[in-house]
């Protein structure tokens, strides 16, 4: 990206001055190298988002930002309903409430090594992953409604989870304001047999080793120590969320066209929060958040069953479950005044800092765990939200490494089989139905996650607590 188009506010803050139809400035948090490597489309998309009605303060992008749909992936924008603010289906994305959960296993790396291959095979058999996979659970119409309203709480009531998890899930595991009646029959049909499935693409289940602790106090609060083994699951609301995203994006495009609104990009289609379609989307989107929370809870339950077989004396404890594709109603202080805002995070993780009222008591001193997925080979990070993220980006941080290369280019460069073999020699066992899928997700196709999280820390969004290295990766 051409850095001459920005005002450099400080080492990590790059500002796009309002011009043209922009209502607010654009701000990217990143270091100079990440900025130079960033796609020019990110600039264009930040500018486009800044033109939307009711946007508050700025159109933000996180250090891992890349070219998305309407909004950049890694984009954060808040809207005020009282000032004509909008809600955007593209600003949430197709995979509504896609997110990450990390569970502590109580097991050390040395305990895993002797069973690592069997554990990988067992997880691969027990966790439905990839195209054509079907979960063991089929929902009828009544159960579908209960799931869409109840989220992880519903899963736990049905025996697919543990009540102690709820404190460690955003929204206490149950997103209020969901309106199942706003979810179409087609979206329900896509989900009927997909509960407890991982999906494909960049979604995964990993068994990981803690290789480095950056902040001993916070790590202790989180229950993390060097050589501990954790399980991390990255997935979302599956077919239901995809269908809701598809349908409401179309309806918003058609509604915009009918009312004569010219959009700079059709993916920016949006509707006033205070409109019929805006409210229906919010109801459906929140139902999809519940679907994602329930899905990750069920996948966690399946994982617990497998671990119980190998390690009968241990029980998996949820560290945290957080989404990175959402629109949430939150209260933030703007110019000394507390205002209710609709915060869109598209490929950005909510990152509440120490003392935030939204955190459970036992995490309030440390701040919210911010779970950052890397690539199969390079590892992942656990960060803690910083209080300074609130004024800087409505309490948001990055969400992952972000791709450096298209699937297309990755496929030309790597063989999936060779990656699988190479990683196995490094002690990382990959299980996937598709070697092509592995090639498309090659570690080299992603940005350096270390640079992304360092930038997030230096920008004051979230600080590093622990680094994780994969031992087993189940990919759809």
């Amino acid at each position: 990206m051409d850095l001459a188009r920005f005002t450099r506010v400080d080492e990590m803050t790059w500002r796009i001055e309002p011009h043209g139809a922009m209502r607010v400035p654009g701000i990217i948090y990143a270091d100079e190298k990440l900025m130079r490597d960033m796609d020019d489309k990110v600039y264009e998309q930040i500018v486009n988002v800044a033109t939307l009605p009711g946007i508050v303060k700025a159109s933000y992008a996180m250090p891992d930002a890349h070219w998305g749909y309407g909004f950049p992936i890694g984009g954060v924008a808040a809207f005020d309903a009282e000032q004509g603010g909008i809600v955007s289906a593209g600003g949430v994305g197709f995979d509504i409430s896609c997110g990450v959960r990390t569970m502590l296993t109580g097991v050390k790396v040395s305990d895993i090594l002797s069973v690592q291959k069997d554990l990988a095979d067992s997880l691969y058999r027990q966790i439905p992953a990839g195209v054509g996979s079907t979960g063991a659970i089929t929902l009828d119409a009544i159960e579908m409604d209960a799931m869409l309203s109840g989220g992880a709480q519903w899963a736990i009531n049905r025996g697919w989870g543990e009540a102690r998890d709820l404190d460690r899930i955003e929204e206490g595991g149950e997103m209020v304001g969901a309106i199942p009646a706003c979810v179409s029959e087609r979206a329900r049909e896509r989900q009927r047999r997909e509960m407890g499935t991982l999906g494909s693409g960049n979604h995964y289940l990993e068994v990981q080793a803690v290789t480095q602790i950056f902040d001993t106090d916070v790590a202790r609060t989180y229950g993390l120590d060097e050589d501990d083994v954790v399980v991390t699951i990255h997935c979302g609301s599956r077919g239901l969320g995809h269908q809701i995203g598809t349908e409401y994006l179309r309806d918003m495009v058609i509604a915009a066209k009918a009312s004569g609104i010219v959009l700079p990009d059709r993916e920016l289609a949006c509707a006033p929060i205070n409109s019929d379609i805006g409210q229906r989307y919010l109801g459906a989107m929140r139902a999809a958040i519940n679907c994602a929370l329930a899905n990750r809870e069920i996948l966690g339950h399946f994982t617990r069953r497998v671990f119980a077989h190998f390690f009968p004396d241990e029980s998996l404890k949820l560290l945290f479950d957080v989404s990175h594709n959402t629109c949430k109603v939150e209260r933030h202080v703007i110019d000394g005044k507390r205002r209710q805002l609709f915060v869109h995070r598209k490929g950005a993780t909510r990152a509440f800092g120490p003392g935030h009222e939204g955190l459970p008591a036992d995490l309030r001193t440390a701040g919210q765990p911010v779970l950052i997925g890397g690539s199969m080979g390079t590892g992942s990070y656990i960060l803690a939200g910083e209080a300074s993220a609130e004024p800087k980006a409505f309490s948001s941080a990055c969400h992952g490494a972000g791709r450096a290369m298209s699937r297309h280019a990755a496929l030309k460069q790597w063989s999936g089989r060779k990656i699988q073999d190479d990683l196995a020699t490094q002690g990382i066992f990959i299980r996937s139905p598709s070697t092509r899928g592995i090639a498309e997700e090659a570690p080299g196709a992603y940005k350096d996650v270390g640079a992304v999280v360092a930038a997030a820390e230096h920008a004051g969004l979230a600080r590093r607590v622990a680094r994780l290295r994969p031992l087993i990766c189940i990919k759809g």
Partner: protein, 147 residues
Amino acid sequence: MNGTLGTAVGETKWEHFPHAADVGIRGFGKTVAEAFEQAALALTAVVTTAEVRPLISVTVEREAPDIELLFVEWLNAIIYEMAVRKMLFSRFAVTVDGTQLRGTLWGEAVDVARHAPACEPKGATYTALKVANEGSGVWTAACIVDV
């Protein structure tokens, strides 16, 4: 990637083009309907390059305010049938009448061992969306698919 899957040998009528995180699909044809059919083959090739046998047929009907939105509707109808029926499709027949579309898809149930599906399309997007008569009798239909 580009290919001739299901078309006359030697005629390249669809292709993939790069996107940062996802994949673009483009179909070419003498008519808009043929461009739609070819783009559907490109969609299947996002998932698998293995043979997909045209054993079962499914029909879809969609409508949209303009031809570009209709193209996205068509792809999303296929994605829906793939997801709900756990099928892959390898033959397509489309008729377009103004802003109405009727399509038949032929395919078979996903066989994970044989098809080794690489990834699952979540939805067709309005990004890089273009349906146009390029002149000299060639139509193209393209957009990015979120996977």
